[in-house]
Symmetry: C2
Subunit: 187 residues, 2 copies
């Protein structure tokens, strides 16, 4: 990925099953799976987005255990993966931090299980990447990113669907597939 | 996938971190994530392989909750996904059951984070699928499938690696990526 792709897992604002905008709690295994996938595909930073103090404390404890703590000593592969985690309050902060890091504002790409007005396919996206445009991928927990985040993004990646109409992948599976497709399109 | 791909998540025999052959415990989120990915990609059956009575009981309780129980009523998408789960004692039983279902012995495909003597790439595999040869994909929990399972399989899928040398994906992420690559190669 040329080190120019970052990824944010958004816990607020997201939708619940009734399309209300809510904050979701952090899932331990999301951090493990997505940081491991991010490390595999050469992602620059893995932003964990939550404004809630107790949830931020939980993220810090998990990350510390797997980097500087006992888990990290015992399992260097997890340490490498968790070293990518950056804890931020909001999507805006993830954009700001990645803009500072990349030296320019990244293309901000929402993901959604529904087709949106600003949908882009992975081939077109890979074309942007080949022009060395950095990229920030936003993944929503719960029932997905709130509409305001989708609208404010530059594009939304086309929904991940296979032959049928069932598209209820976990965010962990979706993150892995999106990184793999992007990597294949860039190779 | 023409309805001719099945998948087995193996909890015994698998390797631990010191390459000893052990039995791994069942992880709730493996069942959720992999059944959802299996449903998305049109997988026929999702075998959960464990010979341990207490672990089998746990799998039954989880599956019942999400199919005939409260979870299934409340969330039909999970019900659809969990309906694919078949609980079996061994890899041999998964092969027997899928042979009965498909009407012929499927191509048995191991997966491994290490390159094996019988390695096959996803393109060649898609070619077999196009000849309507049914396929049973074996995924190992813990540190991966025991060598006896890899040796007894017809082939082993090439390791999932991207640009670097890090290949420590979760089994949930690996399952999703393998199904997506196979689906793309068949499309």
């Amino acid at each position: 990925m040329n080190g120019s792709v970052s990824l944010a897992l958004v816990h607020f604002p997201v939708l619940d099953r009734r399309d209300a905008v809510v904050g979701a709690s952090v899932t331990n295994l999301d951090l493990h799976d997505i940081s491991r996938s991010a490390r595999t595909y050469g992602v620059q930073s893995f932003y964990v987005v939550t404004p809630f103090a107790d949830q931020q404390q939980l993220v810090r404890e998990i990350v510390e255990h797997w980097t500087t703590g006992h888990g990290g000593n015992n399992n260097p592969d997890r340490c490498e993966a968790f070293s990518l985690v950056r804890l931020v309050d909001s999507v805006a902060d993830a954009i700001d931090d990645s803009t500072r890091f990349f030296g320019e504002r990244p293309l901000v790409l929402a993901t959604s299980a529904r087709r949106q007005e600003n949908t882009i396919d992975v081939g077109t996206l890979a074309g942007e990447q080949k022009k060395n445009r950095p990229l920030l991928l936003l993944l929503g927990t719960s029932w997905g990113l709130a509409p305001e985040i989708v609208r404010q993004s530059d594009h939304t990646l086309e929904p991940l669907m296979a032959s049928g109409s069932y598209n209820h992948l976990s965010v962990r599976a979706a993150a892995a597939i999106i990184l793999d497709r992007l990597w294949v399109a860039l190779s």
